[in-house]
Amino acid sequence: MAPSIHYHCPCLSSSPVPPPPHLASSSCSFHALHTLFFCEECDAVRCNRCVSVEVSGYYCPNCLFEVPSASVRAEKNRCARNCFLCPNCRNTLSVVPSDPPEDDGRSSIPLSAIGEPPFFLYCNHCRWDSAEVGITFEKPTGLAAQLQRFEDSASDSLEFERLKEHFEPFLRTSSLSSSSHLPTHPSHHTRTSSITAAASAALARDIPGVGRYNTANPLGRSRGKDKSVNKDEMPEYRSRVEIGASGMAGDAEFMKHIEDVGEVAGLEQRWINSWKSSLQTSDLKPLRIPLHSKVSKRCPTCTHILIKPEQKAQSVRYKIKLVAANYLPAITVALPHMQTQDATKRTVAKSTPDEDKGASATMYAGKTYAFHLALTNPLYDPIQVRLSVQRMHVAVSSDGTIPEKARRPPFAVSLPTSSFTVAAFAEAWEYEDDEDMFGVEDDELGLESPRKSGKDKDGRGKTKTVGVLEKKANLTVVGGEVVIGKEARGNVKFNMLVSYTYRSDDPAPPEDDDVPRSPMKGPEVKTFAFYTVVDLGAISPKEVLQVVDLDF
């Protein structure tokens, strides 16, 4: 596993400090930089876990038709055109005519929908065929409508219709009352929460011991009149179909006569049905393809929009896109002893230099390793960065049941203690002089042993493992070091606080960095800090050392 770094979003806890890296909760609190957002208003990182999501458009992932929101509900969130999933393997089904097979010897199923009726749906992955389950069509278009009667007569959809009717009067009153209280909410939110409330009330009444589901109200407002509506006063609902009464005996009878496992529909094939469905493969019906949606994302605190896609379903552009990568420096981690090895592996005729045998892709207990952090500045102004390792308070459980894990992290990390600059981002730097970039790095490859990285570059002959190693355009590489204890196990994983200062006035051309900005408002310096978790990889016990084969 390559070393990794993830960025903290503090939304899961009230504390701005992330959990210690060895706890399971750590992985939930940290995210890859490219998945994070940034709210300028709150000056804070946001993640997919905490942003509020709103659907901005629906489309079918197969025919790519953009479905107007108005018809989405009537069409039950599925494509109402000609798109079906294979009930057996979930591949998209093709509409094929009953033409005699072509004799070109390549394909027995013609793929064009021009031919003789009846038409049927065919899976070109598992060869499921709708004719086998008695479904054929007179014309190759409007298949969803032709299948509609199957769907509408299914017991689950009938039951659902009935449930809706049952709750309708209640919904009408409750949405009236709540809409007057929460005018800022989009209407479907209100409706959703009333449905949830109604369902929860019914559940609480019917099943003893089931608690009321409490919708977390992000705005922290009380739901006003809702409280006065007594949900328990709704008339009792009687289901149309007796659950469990039908089928059981039949299932047993069917199971007795199975000759082939394939006759039984697998759990995965029946899973998405909301109703208990037949066990028999021969009863599986083609499924209309569920619609996908494009979504907008908002800051959960101030409700500013962070992501707003363009309307067109297949466009990958955004009207608004506030991503953390445009605000926070991107950091990558590397272990130079791993890279050296990679390079030797790839270099065709390069003889393996006199590397010490410890320089393999693994880290061994009792050794010291250098690591590199490369910081790239996305801002049009230089930033001043300071790194520090978060001190770890490892709680030892009182009864001492897990002494192995609960011990203090058995490694010590050194990072540059002074702050360093990362130059401003400039478009021109981006790719033009990339060739030189590697020319310079070339000679340093292969002769780099883990402890000596950066030594030769530092003209003063001083070993420089920890500190700034390299600056190039808007990239600064700093070195750190980890001393691993003799008895160490697990991963070298630690939380690192990154704080950087930047000028917060409007960006000026990057060339005149030293020229003072507009005289009216002098450059204001601001600091932003965020946590990361750095995982350098697993520690191998020292004994394994001899087994490592460097020849691959």
């Binding site: 490219h34 998945t35 489309y59 992932p61 197969n62 025919c63 790519l64 393997c89 979930r90 591949n91 998209t92 093709s94 072509e102 070109d104 390549r106 394909s107 013609p110 793929l111 064009s112 021009i114 899976c123 070109n124 992955h125 598992c126 996908h292 992501i307 896609p309 379903a313 297949q314 466009s315 990958v316 955004y318 896109k321 991503v323 990568a325 990558t332 590397a334 890279q339 990679d342 390079a343 790839r346 270099t347 065709v348 005729a349 590199h372 490369a374 790719y431 990339d434 060739e435 970039m437 590697f438 790095e441 070339d442 490859l445 990239l475 590489v477």
Partner: protein, 188 residues
């Protein structure tokens, strides 16, 4: 930070527009193939520009945009079908910043920009892959599949697995450019 990926200078031909084509790749019907520039065709790849639509004249069979990578041992073959009784090949069009992992077989009709296809995949005939989609390693995409923008597909048959992040385009663009820069000749 990433070290160069060295190739033997003798093995690759570099064109004026920066395409790098391995002499160990099989380029059939090169007159029917367009490479957009800074595109790499790896060793052992097979590109079937010779499978062209019947009829007179010159036809583009396979076109690849800029910063593409056809991985080692990949097979790129135009899709075919029999339509109204006539057997024919149809062109394959691939956008910019498309990476195809080693040993994958591609018979797609169109692949958009910023698309990543993993190793050992089969992309069936007439598949349409929209911008910024990703196909995980070892995915089997059956013929005629449509893969929407920003979707991750995986498995056999390839199925929608999740939406990709909003910054996918920038990520893929940076990755393909970096790869091209890292891909350096070794003069010995």
């Amino acid at each position: 930070m990433d070290p160069p990926i060295f190739y033997s200078k003798a093995e690759f031909i570099e064109t004026d527009t920066g395409n790098k084509v391995s002499r160990r790749a099989t380029i059939a019907g090169p007159q029917n193939i367009i490479l957009g520039g800074k595109t790499i065709i790896s060793s052992g790849a097979i590109i079937r520009g010779d499978l062209r639509r019947t009829g007179p004249g010159h036809a583009v069979v396979i076109s690849l945009g800029r910063y593409c990578l056809v991985g080692e041992g990949c097979v790129m073959r135009p899709p075919y079908k029999t339509y109204r009784g006539n057997f024919n090949y149809y062109p394959m069009k691939i956008g910019d910043h498309v990476h195809i992992g080693a040993n994958s077989v591609v018979e797609a009709a169109t692949i958009g920009n910023h698309v990543e296809i993993g190793k050992n995949c089969v992309i069936g005939k007439f598949t349409i892959i929209k911008d910024c989609a990703k196909i995980a390693d070892n995915t089997i995409v059956p013929p005629n599949t449509v893969i929407p923008a920003l979707a991750l597909f995986s498995g056999s048959p390839g199925r929608f697995t999740q939406d990709l992040p909003e910054s996918t385009q920038e990520m893929v663009e940076a990755a393909t450019k970096t790869y091209y820069t890292r891909f350096q000749p070794l003069d010995r």
